[in-house]
């Protein structure tokens, strides 16, 4: 029988990589579904700054959520990946999907549009040339 997976030691707080080896974020939260008469199901992993900050101090979660909603309400929200997509875990968590199909990169993309307006933000050729 395969050893059970320790979720706190091997999943929570770990770096998430997708099928393209892109950094998706850290596992800031794990969602469980308690079920009557059956073991709780592990539903999903979440990557979300408010979730991470809320684990440090609960009021920070609400502050961070409000700040995100104020800055960009159309993109505020956690990145949630179904646990069935978790392929491997240990030092890192590998998920078997392309994270571009999720909202994992929306903040980088949104901020990237602003950064691209600053001279040098988009760059030409290799960086540093």
């Amino acid at each position: 029988m395969v050893d059970p997976l320790p979720l706190v030691r091997d999943v929570l707080d770990k770096q998430i990589y997708d099928v393209n080896d892109a950094k998706v974020g850290k596992v800031d939260g794990i969602v469980l579904l308690p079920r009557k008469g059956r073991p709780p199901r592990v539903l999903a992993i979440e990557s979300d700054i408010p979730c991470a900050l809320g684990r440090v101090w609960r009021p920070l979660r609400r502050c961070a959520e409000r700040l995100q909603e104020w800055i960009a309400p159309e993109i505020a929200g956690p990145t949630t990946i179904g646990f069935e997509h978790v392929v491997k875990s240990g030092i890192d968590v590998q998920v078997g999907i392309d994270a571009k199909r999720t909202n994992a990169f929306v903040w980088d993309a949104w901020l990237g549009h602003i950064v691209a307006l600053i001279p040098g933000g988009k760059g030409r050729g290799e960086k540093g040339e």
């Binding site: 395969v2 059970p4 997976l5 320790p6 979720l7 706190v8 030691r9 929570l12 939260g29 794990i30 969602v31 469980l32 579904l33 308690p34 059956r38 073991p39 709780p40 199901r41 592990v42 539903l43 999903a44 979730c51 684990r55 949630t80 179904g82 646990f83 069935e84 978790v86």
Partner: protein, 101 residues
């Protein structure tokens, strides 16, 4: 993924005190052990107590263990009641829990 009403967060349970039915403290939840069941993963066991924390921190590589006889427990899923996630309780007597070494 739409949020279901009765979803709970693992990190909200992590560190919560588990008590017996009559209110005695058993220890804090420090680890959740999951197994694959078909397409899904399910939590099959909960580690409770200080040795579970040390194991999670890999501090045992440094030879650090909790002193004393009571180093923690491993409870299977049916031995813990999560109806109120803020106050998890045991469904069985403490002596039915597996002791962690």
């Amino acid at each position: 993924m739409a949020k279901r009403a009765n979803e709970i967060r693992l990190e909200d349970l992590l560190g919560r005190r588990v008590r017996t039915a009559d209110g005695r403290n058993v220890g804090r939840i420090e680890e959740f052990r999951a197994r694959r069941e078909g397409d899904y993963w399910v939590v099959t066991e909960f580690d409770i107590g200080p040795n579970a924390l040390l194991g999670r921190l890999a501090a045992r590589h440094l030879g650090i263990t909790w002193p004393g006889r009571n180093r923690g427990y491993r409870a299977s899923w049916e031995q813990i009641n999560l109806d109120d996630p803020r106050r998890p309780t045991l469904n069985c007597p403490v002596d039915q829990l597996k002791q962690l070494r």
